[in-house]
Amino acid sequence: MKNIGIVAFKELKIYLTSPMAYVVTAIFLALSGTFFITYLAGTNYTDTSIRGFLDVGQILILLLAALLTMRLVAEEKKLGTWELLLTVPVRDAEIILGKFFASVAVLGVMLILTFYYSLLLLIFGDPDLGPIGTSYLGLFLLGCASLAVGIFASSLTSDQIVSAVVTCGILFGLWLIGVAGSITPGAFGDILSYISLSYYFPDFARGILDTRGIVYYISIAVIFLYLAIQSTETDRWH
């Protein structure tokens, strides 16, 4: 446990001292803010919800996860510090989890910074807080799953660009099979939907807390973190 904290703390410090996290957060806020307000304007300010933010936010989170995680392992491999990390008395799982929690913290801060959208709605209108709460939970869980995928991709390579591209490939692939699922009839279509990242989010946005969605996102996170740990382990065997 202590080691996870040590690794996470160091990663957080790097996030705070390098431009990547700031640039990513700035772009996230700028784009999601724009869509938040254009949606409101589109409904002539009759629908006081954060739907505009959610529509673009869920896609942005996939991209941002790829950018936030791409250096986590790949850079260590390039610098040679991976050899240091794997020869200190720290478990592979502790290293991966430490890095994961650091990226989750950045995601958390990013989401908290968007709370002012809801605050604006509260001041100027009468928003339904239930769906806003579940939407944030959904975004957070979707983000955690995406970050885990990113760390897995980063653990495969010493090239950050490759890591980002692989992450986007997996995430958008998992997203788009939902689209395929919705147009494919029968049980096969259902299965495609059930395993897709996009299937569960609309419920969260509508204010429905479905355990299937929660379990799904957590499962994706756990599976990819497990794969990242395995890939680290396998590196030792070549």
Binding site: N3, T81, E83, L85, T87, P89, R91
Partner: protein, 309 residues
């Protein structure tokens, strides 16, 4: 302290380390010698737990690295060949991070950082970003990192490579200092370095151990033949023949513009060579002894091994 039993490591079809056995006793400084690609780094990576062996076992104290890797790793300080530095951290932040990963608490971390900064002479660079350090200082920070937890065993992969001669001398002194109460295995491809620092050397070539012995025993084997490089103004053919007749000289050869004279270690034919040349009326332009290159020694040792089979 370190015990290696029938260790083999394959990368795909390539055998990097081929069934080697050796051990390093507590308090010994052992040199691990070999040309590039001999398997030194791979062996060290297995000892430190970075790689798992294909076959065989590594023991650190009483811990088998295959089953008790974490316990074994606690006892080891490791300086990899590529110094593992985070280029945008300061020296202090870096040493702090490594110390914490090594399990030191905050107070101990602070006092140990003071110790290693003193030992590795890093005062002026303690708040400098690692990316801005010169190669020599990077190496020193690497060494500081390796000893931060005061380990019983030190594994140093080419600790003096790529740094200037003055720093090389300082680093060697530091290693000797550290070796007083620690077990050290250090790799190098510089033969004089091994004979300067180590009590014992293990010579590895193409993944196999070709010799392991105390330095004093090995040096007679290695220095069995010495060579001189002589430049003479005179008829090359006759000079070669005349040099070959001098007492103690095994062989004289000519490779434009030098004559090479091989002789056994017990004799000192320099004076006779000069005398002979003067008698013949030829002019001696230069005379210098050349050390056998490590590559030659490996060839000799491997050749001897083949013959022994």
């Amino acid at each position: 302290m370190i015990r290696i039993q029938s260790l083999t490591k394959c990368f795909g079809n390539r055998v990097a380390v081929d069934n080697i056995d050796f051990s390093v006793d507590k308090g010994e400084i052992v040199g691990f010698l070999g040309p590039n690609g001999a398997g030194k780094t791979t062996t060290m990576r297995i000892i430190t737990g970075y790689f798992m062996p294909t076959r065989g076992d590594v023991w650190i104290a009483n811990y088998n690295m295959a089953t008790h890797s974490l316990e074994g790793r606690r006892l080891i300080g490791y300086l990899p060949e590529m110094v593992p530095l985070y280029s945008d951290m300061t020296t202090r932040a870096y040493l702090q991070y490594v110390a914490r990963l090594r399990g030191l608490d905050r107070r101990k971390t602070k006092s140990r950082i003071d110790d290693v900064v003193q030992l590795c002479a890093l005062h002026e660079y303690i708040d400098v970003i690692l990316g801005k350090l010169s190669k020599g200082f990077r190496q020193r920070v690497g060494l500081a990192q390796a000893i931060i937890h005061d380990p019983e065993v030190l594994i140093l992969d080419e600790p003096t490579i790529g740094i200037d001669p003055i720093q090389v001398a300082q680093t060697r002194k530091l290693i000797q200092e550290l070796g007083k109460d620690r077990t050290i295995l250090l790799s190098t491809h510089v033969l004089p370095e091994a004979s300067m620092i180590c009590e014992r050397v293990i010579i590895i070539h193409e993944g196999r151990i070709v010799a392991q012995d105390r330095i004093d025993n090995l040096s007679t084997l290695l220095k069995g033949v010495n060579r001189l490089r002589v430049k003479v103004q005179g008829p090359a053919g006759k000079v070669t023949k005349r040099l070959g007749r001098i007492m103690g000289v095994h062989k004289a050869t000519y490779e434009r513009p030098y004559h090479f004279v091989e002789f056994s270690a017990e004799t000192q034919p320099q004076a006779e060579i000069m005398e002979a040349l003067v008698q013949e009326g030829w002019t001696l332009l230069s005379l210098e002894s050349i050390e056998m290159s490590l590559e030659n020694i490996f060839l000799q040792l491997t050749a001897e091994k083949e013959r022994g089979r």
